[in-house]
């Protein structure tokens, strides 16, 4: 009959048979659910590799090695110079020497803490990334067990967020009634991530607005450019924190790298969708006022980066929730600017 090598006969087990393993979600007090310990071990795991770069591992890159070695040499030189400088202060057996020692020690501790924080930040991002990879694999293979694992892990990730308490609870309650492949993650997408998406959109809009305003008002190009850079990094960090992976500084840079790669990779498609109308609109704006045009452009850029960052950071693809679009954000950014634009011209 069936293709199984040995046909499995119907059998009865007593409910207290030790061979029996009940489904985990059936327990009533499953609130401190199986996702939590996994998440805890993930964050405590010190040997986390920064596996963020899912954009393909390439082989040896000679250019990188050249730059790295040169930078290393320069750093060594600077270190030697600095050591000579400091040791001159250290050898003095008076208050200057002691103060220098204390300062150096404090600096050492600070560096250590920064490094630790970087590692923790990386591990958080890596955890997010693992959930993402697992979810992607589960969706690809339509494997329900993996899917359940990924979804519970995701719920564990957000279980301690007070603003998501209700969503997580509801999700765990519903998760027991879901049986088909692909549905559990869709549910997680809708219940857990959709509220975060709203907040993410708000963050992106606010950043884009700030960038647009500062660019339009700043007296020097240099200030504007710096501000755009800083604001974008801040936005990335905010988004990553929102989705559960608060990164350190280097983590943010890494993230920025990925986001740029993402924009480059998907740019062609998005260009027709979003940028065309945007350029047309901004050209008119630029004719009204160069400053305003630049502001709008920078704001649009920030919005683009923000949306791309959401794509990169979000632990699930958009299954049931709607993806925020640059156009929507832009509309909100530009509306007040047009209000401003009308005043000087009319």
């Amino acid at each position: 009959m069936s293709a199984a090598p040995e046909p499995r006969k119907p059998r009865v087990f007593a409910p207290d048979d030790p061979a029996l393993i009940e489904e985990p979600a059936a327990a009533a007090g499953a609130d401190a659910a199986p996702g939590d310990p996994a998440a805890a071990t993930a964050s405590a795991d010190p040997t986390v590799r920064p596996t963020l770069a899912d954009l393909g591992r390439r082989g040896l890159r000679w250019g990188t090695i050249l730059i790295a070695t040169l930078a290393g040499a320069a750093l060594l030189g600077a270190g030697a110079w600095f050591a000579r400088l400091v040791s001159a202060a250290l050898v003095r057996d008076d208050w200057v020497g002691w103060t220098t020692l204390v300062l150096l020690l404090t600096a050492g501790v600070a560096t250590l803490m920064l490094g630790l924080r970087e590692i923790v930040g990386f591990s958080r991002l890596a955890r997010l990334h693992r959930v993402k990879a697992e979810a992607a694999a589960a969706i690809r293979e339509r494997d329900q067990k993996r899917e359940r694992k990924a979804a519970l892990r995701l719920a564990g990730l957000y279980a301690r967020r007070p603003e998501l308490a209700w969503s997580v609870r509801r999700f765990r309650e519903h998760a027991r009634d879901v049986h088909d492949a692909g549905e559990l993650l869709a549910l997680a997408d809708r219940d857990l991530l959709a509220p975060l998406d709203l907040e993410a959109r708000r963050l992106v809009t606010a950043s884009a607005k700030r960038v647009a305003t500062v660019t339009a008002l700043s007296p020097m190009v240099f200030i504007a450019v710096t501000y755009v850079g800083v604001e974008n990094l801040r936005l990335l960090r905010g988004l990553a924190t929102l989705y559960g992976g608060r990164p350190g500084f280097i983590g943010v840079l890494r993230l920025a790298n990925m986001v740029l790669a993402h924009i480059v990779a998907t740019g062609g498609i998005a260009m027709t969708d979003d940028l065309l109308g945007q350029f047309l609109g901004q050209d008119i704006l630029r004719r009204l006022s160069r400053r305003l045009g630049e502001g709008a452009f920078n704001g649009a850029l920030t919005a683009r980066i923000g949306i791309a960052a959401i794509d990169v950071i979000r632990p699930l693809p958009f299954l049931a929730a709607t993806r925020p679009r640059v156009r929507d954000v832009l509309g909100e950014v530009l509306r007040p600017m047009f209000g401003v634009a009308k005043k000087p011209s009319g």
Partner: protein, 494 residues
């Protein structure tokens, strides 16, 4: 075409016209819950209503998940001639200790549920009333098997009934009746006494055939099994009697009298039932208890397939049946549900769906061809079991845990209806068609459960608590009920 056909068509058209008019005020969805006896119609309706009223756990019913349903309530019974569906009573049975499944339905009943919602579409929000009536009818599944009679003539029906009676698993029950009709001559003069005794023997045979295994799809006519208010009426004093020569019997003969009564049974019992409750459906869910049929073996599955095929034939939205003209409304969404999906582990649900797809193959093809949306799913309107895995040697057996009904058996174990048990019911075959092939050395029904390769015992329902201490109604456990509701009603609540 006879005059009554004409008037009926007109009346039907008028009826749908008036329905369309009242739809302008408040849209109404007529939900047809179709299923043979014991396929779970009553439980489905009860939990459907309960979940909508009390806000059940329905994550994939989008209108509810998005929080757009503001209120759902039961309307006072709209039709004074039809009893109301005893929703509270059925729910009460499930809340008893120990809980019980609602009894099999003995009469027709009806319910109107009103859902107040906020539409997602701006146009509908401004124009529409934001209200939807859902009309649901519950009826004895036995009556459903009458629908195919509408297309049959008396000689055809007689021949088929005799053939059915000679099937191996019914032969024993049918023996007295078969013996009786072999002595009768359809050309003989009509005689009321012969009609009475014949009908009685026929009824006894039908009841006996059903008693062997009530889950089996029984041969009809349905009112012989469940007469309702027709008990003893001349409408029921007939029985199949194949005409001698193949042509109709002469006027005044026994055969002619039986044929006449058969025709009036169709005209006075079956047609009104169909006309009032099935002809104007918008959405239909077809519940099939495939698992019981699998339990009972290949012949039962084939029976179920044939019966459902014939029943669903009546719902054909094509031309050239007398009802298609009444069917101004077409059933635009058709859901085939294999009920009692909680009686096996969810990893086997796809196989159960495959079986259902095979059983309803032609109906699915026909409906899709006619342009209706068709979906097949394994469903448990009220989930009676939990899932577990058991290790046995090197294998891991996917089990279900619940309280089997008293008298259910698996292998040598007979359940008492009190103790919980974890059951591995066996693997459904990967190829559903292999179930339709009778195994070598046919076994009589009712005796094969000891060493069958699959057997699904029935379980006691979960205890439904009507109100939690906190005052809110706890949600009922189910399997894919939300998907089913979404498919049946979701677009009307968009």
């Amino acid at each position: 075409m006879r005059l009554s056909d004409l008037t009926e068509t007109t009346a039907g058209a008028l009826k749908s016209a008036s329905a369309a008019l009242s739809d302008l005020m408040t849209p109404t969805v007529r939900l047809g819950v179709t299923g043979l006896a014991r396929s779970g119609k009553t439980v489905f309706i009860t939990t459907l209503v309960r979940s909508l009223l009390a806000g059940g756990r329905l994550p994939f019913f989008s209108a509810m998940a998005e929080g757009r349903i503001t209120r759902a309530y039961l309307e006072p019974q709209p039709d004074d001639a039809v009893p109301r569906f005893a929703y509270e009573e059925h729910l009460g049975l499930l809340a008893k200790a120990p809980p019980e499944w609602p009894e099999s339905t003995r009469r027709l009943s009806q319910l109107r549920l009103t859902i107040e919602y906020t539409s997602k579409l701006a146009l509908r929000r401004t124009l529409g009333p934001g209200r939807l009536h859902v009309d649901i009818v519950d009826y004895p599944g036995e009556w459903l098997i009458d629908l195919p009679l509408l297309e049959m003539s008396f000689p055809d029906w007689s021949r088929q009934a005799v053939e059915d009676a000679r099937a191996p698993h019914r032969r024993q029950a049918a023996a007295p009746w078969l013996e009786l009709i072999s002595t009768l001559d359809p050309e003989a003069l009509e005689d009321e006494q012969i009609a009475l005794t014949g009908a009685e023997a026929f009824t006894r045979y039908l009841l006996a055939a059903r008693a062997l295994d009530p889950a089996l799809s029984a041969p009809g006519p349905g009112r012989f099994l469940l007469p309702g208010d027709l008990a003893g009426s001349p409408l029921l004093t007939f029985f199949p009697l194949p005409p001698a020569g193949g042509s109709a019997s002469p006027r005044g003969s026994l055969g002619a009298m039986l044929a006449r009564r058969f025709e009036s049974y169709k005209a006075h019992v079956v047609k009104p039932f169909f006309r009032d409750h099935f002809a104007r459906l918008d959405r239909q869910i077809v519940l099939m208890d495939a698992l019981s049929a699998v339990n009972a073996g290949a012949s039962a599955l084939a029976d179920l397939q044939r019966t459902m095929e014939a029943v669903l034939e009546c719902f054909r939205p094509g031309a050239n049946t007398w009802l298609s003209s009444i069917l101004a409304r077409r059933i635009d969404r058709l859901l085939f549900a294999a009920t009692k999906a909680d009686h096996l582990h969810h990893s086997s649900h796809d196989r159960l769906e495959a079986i259902l797809r095979l059983l309803a193959e032609q109906a699915i093809a026909r409906a899709s061809f006619a342009g209706a949306e068709v979906k097949v799913m394994a469903l448990a309107a009220l989930r009676a079991t939990r899932e577990a895995e058991a290790r046995s040697g090197r294998q891991t057996l996917p089990c279900i845990v619940g309280v089997p009904l008293p008298g259910e058996r698996l292998g040598r174990k007979v359940f008492d209806g009190v103790a919980e048990a974890a059951v591995f019911p066996g693997d459904l075959p990967e190829d559903a068609a292999s179930l339709l092939v009778p195994p070598a050395g046919a076994i009589a029904p009712g005796e094969d459960s000891a060493d069958a390769s699959v057997h699904f015992p029935r379980f006691r329902p979960p205890r439904v608590s009507l109100e939690a201490p906190s005052g809110e109604a706890p949600a009922l456990p189910h399997i894919r009920l939300d998907r089913a509701i979404e498919f049946l009603l979701g677009d009307r609540l968009a």
